[in-house]
């Protein structure tokens, strides 16, 4: 009893527009319009940027743990800003800024959503490719261009952007305020503007593809949760990224053309600037109107991936499919009306603070539902603890731990005293950084066979997981304490305050965990690169999964399915479903029913 049995007797109404033409090296590997190749390009670019971002974090963690020590490594990597092994305060700020930018946008937005939306949307909905392969290609190359510009900005004479990844003006607008706000900031803005264009092209493509190109029988309620997550993520992106673009545009105007959108009453470097009437608070509103949904742009795809990986490996349907979809929609809607919780103490009207507290704590409800549903999915499962599954369980763990502290930060009264301290850093790294990274890893381990036709080494995967999962808590759990001790973030050193001297050893603990955790990512990189070339050849459906991507052949071909596009007869979560008598699975001896299998006589029909 196999999956292919039902593929071939479908009608051939929609696959004649497809014909093979000769592929050159350039059209196949570089300017490819094939979604599978583009997804690999996204992944590899994202991982490359991730290496830079994580390496930066190790540099500034060294500085935080041993501020009075000299490290030659600074001189090697930072050149004149690390002369004699002493880190320059400006470059410290540049490191945290670019670390944040790279990790949030280049790794977790493009690397995660870009990779898996591209790979899975056509494959899981039963489409030959994206709605527009050409736009998809442009989207990747704009992303590539913005990555190049961001990396180039590191080599600017006065240093890269250093005003924090939130680039609040006036600090980011005035080169007099810090050297990084000169050419470095200009390149940052140009890079992000291109990134936004890339993201919008990608998102529009995803939305159109999901709406229009689903195969016959693939109703919205039969979509795997991955697709729901990518679909809704794309919608949030389309709603919020243009607002960041407008903010960036106005900031460029303020910087270069003398406008006063965000600047007013400024006396700097011995002179009064002409700017009058602008407001930095306006920038904060615009920035966070993207900035907060961005958290969910990062997180929802990870949650979608987790849903799919957990269900497959638990050999159980995801618990409460409709509640999960409703939660995704609720989170998406609420995510666009909570941005003010980043601004409780910005000088914004306190009444607005009340409103944002209310909406923010509401978002905890769908999040809680999701967490409970994941846990219930594990209950009485037959858990196949593959590396992807472990990372998914890890994600649920950090999503809970990090999410819970959001109840404190989202409460305006409590936020007053922990705002901008390490408590915040701990919170968002766990709930969006680490969780989304786990989602990325889960996705890579799970869909590696689909992407590269080979398996990753599971034992290296286990080492990678267990060291990472201990290391990540080792880094971020102690951070809550130094935050509650009142230690502000973005301090180059804490030695200017003897009051914080007793936090120094906690900072050492954090840094040691950070170094170990970063080192074990090399195991992942090794496993990843090695397996691309020498990994064990994959079978067609290694995880015994129901979704459509596993009905395509291992060898990639343009158009995904050699024959007709398969039709879909059920949802994607019929794992371990028993027949009416209850003495065996619906398909005897096989605990999964691929979506391409029609409803059998001996099974009960569900509402999907």
């Amino acid at each position: 009893m196999s999956t292919e049995a039902n593929i071939h007797h479908t009608d051939h109404h929609d696959d004649h527009g497809h014909h093979h033409h000769k592929e050159t090296f350039i059209t196949k590997y570089i300017f490819s319009q094939d979604h599978k190749m583009i997804s690999k390009q996204y992944l590899i670019t994202g991982l490359f940027m991730g290496v830079i971002g994580i390496a930066m974090s190790i540099l500034f963690r060294l500085q935080l743990a041993w501020p009075d020590k000299q490290f030659t490594i600074y001189e090697i990597f930072l050149g004149k800003w690390g002369a004699e092994g002493i880190m320059d305060p400006n470059v410290y700020l540049a490191l945290v800024t670019i670390h944040g930018t790279i990790m949030v946008f280049f790794v977790l937005t493009a690397g995660l959503s870009g990779t898996f939306s591209n790979l899975l949307i056509p494959l899981q909905i039963g489409a030959r490719d994206m709605a527009s392969g050409f736009l998809n290609m442009i989207s990747y190359w704009l992303f590539f261009l913005s990555s190049i510009i961001m990396v180039l900005s590191l080599f600017v004479e006065a240093g890269p952007a250093a005003a924090g990844w939130t680039i609040y003006p006036p600090l980011s607008a005035l080169p007099q305020a810090m050297p990084g706000s000169g050419a470095g900031m200009t390149l940052w803005l140009v890079s992000m503007a291109i990134f936004i264009a890339s993201s919008l092209l990608g998102s529009l493509n995803y939305i159109v593809t999901v709406i229009n190109l689903r195969t016959k029988g693939m109703s919205m309620t039969r979509l795997p949760l991955t697709i729901w997550a990518f679909f809704v993520t794309a919608i949030i992106g389309v709603v919020s990224f243009p607002v960041l673009f407008s903010a960036a545009l106005m900031l460029i105007m303020d910087r270069s053309f003398g406008t006063s959108f965000f600047l007013s009453d400024i006396y700097i470097a011995g002179e009064v600037l002409h700017n009058q009437g602008g407001s930095p608070v306006l920038f904060e509103h615009l920035f966070w109107f993207l900035g907060h949904p961005e958290v969910y742009i990062v997180l929802l795809p990870a949650l979608g991936i987790t849903s799919e990986v957990i269900a497959t490996n638990a050999r159980k349907p995801i618990f409460g499919y409709r509640a999960m979809v409703a939660s995704i929609l609720a989170i998406a809607f609420l995510s666009t009306i909570v941005w003010g919780h980043h601004m409780f103490v910005s000088g914004m009207n306190p009444f607005l603070g009340s409103v944002f507290t209310f909406t923010t704590l509401l978002i905890a409800i769908p999040s809680a539902v999701k967490a409970f549903n994941y846990i219930t999915t594990l209950w009485k499962g037959n858990l196949q603890l593959n590396p992807g599954m472990l990372f998914s369980i890890g994600l649920v763990s950090t999503f809970i731990s990090g999410g819970l502290t959001g109840i404190i930060l989202g409460d305006s009264a409590l936020d007053i005293n922990v705002h901008d301290t390490y408590f915040v850093v701990a919170h968002f790294h766990l709930v969006m950084g680490i969780s989304a990274l786990y989602g990325l890893f889960a996705g890579v381990y799970h869909w590696f066979p689909k992407m590269f036709g080979r398996m990753m080494n599971k034992n290296l995967g286990y080492i990678h997981f267990w060291v990472t999962v201990i290391g990540a808590y080792g880094i971020f759990f102690p951070m809550h304490f130094i935050g509650m001790a009142g230690l502000p973030r973005r301090y180059y050193t804490n030695t200017a305050f003897p009051y914080f001297d007793d936090l120094a050893n906690i900072n050492v603990v954090i840094t040691i965990f950070a170094i170990i955790t970063a080192a074990v990512q090399l195991v992942f990189l090794y496993n990843f690169l090695y397996s691309i070339f020498y990994g064990k050849k994959a079978t067609q459906n290694p995880w015994k999964s129901n979704t459509l991507e596993w009905t395509t052949p291992v060898e990639h071909l343009h158009g995904n399915w050699p024959g007709a596009i398969p039709h879909v007869y059920r949802w994607s979560y019929d794992y371990s479903k028993l027949n009416k008598e209850g003495d065996d699975y619906v398909i005897p001896g096989q605990d999964f029913i691929p979506q391409t299998v029609p409803v059998q006589d001996n099974e009960e029909e569900m509402n999907h």
Partner: protein, 353 residues
């Protein structure tokens, strides 16, 4: 230390490479199952590790609270701060309760239901009652927290000027703070960056009669028990006036005046003599003394002995010296405050010495 660190990293790398090698060897020898898909043995091992991880998680949690509670901020030194601490305690209790239970369920299930050959998973796709229960419980708990939080927030932020608060302007610039007291009339004179000139560093409008008795100071003295209303300005970039001991924080924004008010309840003297602070300061000085041994060996100047003072820190990234933008706060009795104030020079005296 550097040497040690480099060594530690090298050792770790070596161990990692050795382990990787070993695993490859092992996986090659057992040619029977090299599918790279978890088998029963992997499931059992990783299931157990899930349990061990849970133990690690709880031990780490307990260890953290046990050893690091001493570094946390002391009791709030302001009236509203007590409410915040109370709310924090309740929220923390709720969070810890949920955290402990959910992490247990998650990891225990991962252990208990690890895959075995022949084990059948239960087809359990929906249960409206269950889902209703765990939707409604967070709704109720969060509603309570929201209502409590909003009352606290409104109390803090709605400033009643009829209380006759002491009005002080906090003035931020890269990378220092200045405080401007409103003087006898308790009214701040007009100010704007365009008036900055010479000794008039905060840009007071000299033509405004309210400004003549204003007092600009580099230390922030506050009388205990009287409400203080801070009016905040910045002359260059965003800063944030963070006074952690008073549970107070507000950004300073160029082009606008922001405000925050609180009533200090514990004088600096009382705080220094509280048991908690004596322990903390003792601990800090021990650390500093240990460092001094190293410094002496290198022939450098020793660190001063630390004595507690309330702090005003900058908590919004503002440039290279952001990490050292601070001002000392001294909370004292009304008499001490009056005596200090009498020594200060008013703005008009500064202009016409």
């Amino acid at each position: 230390m550097t040497g040690f660190l480099v060594l530690a990293v090298l050792v770790l790398f070596a161990v990692a490479i050795w382990q990787m090698n070993k695993i490859f060897q092992l996986s090659r020898v057992k040619a029977g199952d090299d599918s790279q898909i978890a088998n029963d043995k992997d499931n059992r091992l990783n299931g157990k590790l899930m349990l061990w991880f849970m133990v690690f998680f709880y031990v780490f949690l307990i260890y953290g609270f046990w050893t690091w509670s001493s570094v946390l901020l002391p009791d709030a030194a302001s009236e509203h701060g007590k409410d915040i601490d109370q709310l924090m305690l309740i929220s923390m209790a709720v969070i810890m309760f949920v955290l402990v239970i959910t992490q247990f369920l998650l990891h225990y299930f991962a252990f208990k239901y690890h895959g075995r050959k022949g084990q059948r998973a239960v087809f359990f796709a929906d249960n409206d009652k269950l889902e209703f229960v765990w939707t409604i419980i967070p709704v109720i708990v969060l509603a309570a927290l929201i209502i409590y939080g909003l009352f606290t927030w409104t109390d803090i932020m709605n400033i009643d000027e009829d209380d006759d608060p002491l009005i002080i302007e906090l003035y931020a610039k890269q990378f220092t703070w200045e405080a401007r007291y409103a003087g006898e009339d308790n009214i701040l004179g007009d100010a704007n960056v365009r008036f900055i000139e010479g000794i008039n560093t905060v840009g007071i409008d000299a033509s405004d009669p309210d400004a003549s008795d204003d007092v600009v100071a580099r230390e922030l003295h506050l009388p205990v028990g009287r409400k203080v209303l801070f009016k905040m300005r910045s002359q260059d970039v965003l800063h944030s006036a963070y006074m952690p001991h008073f549970r107070a924080q507000m950004n300073t924004v160029p082009g606008m005046v922001t405000q925050f008010a609180f009533t200090p309840t514990i004088t600096t003297e009382e705080m220094r003599n509280s048991e908690e602070m004596i322990n903390k300061v003792g601990n800090i000085n021990e650390i500093r003394n240990a460092k001094n041994v190293d410094l002496a060996a290198q022939g450098e100047e020793p660190l001063e002995t630390y004595e507690f003072d309330y702090l005003l820190l900058c908590n919004k990234i503002c440039g290279a010296s952001h990490y050292n933008m601070q001002m000392k706060i001294i909370v004292e009795t009304q008499e001490e405050f009056d005596a200090w104030m009498a020594e200060q020079t008013t703005f008009s005296e500064t202009l016409n010495p």
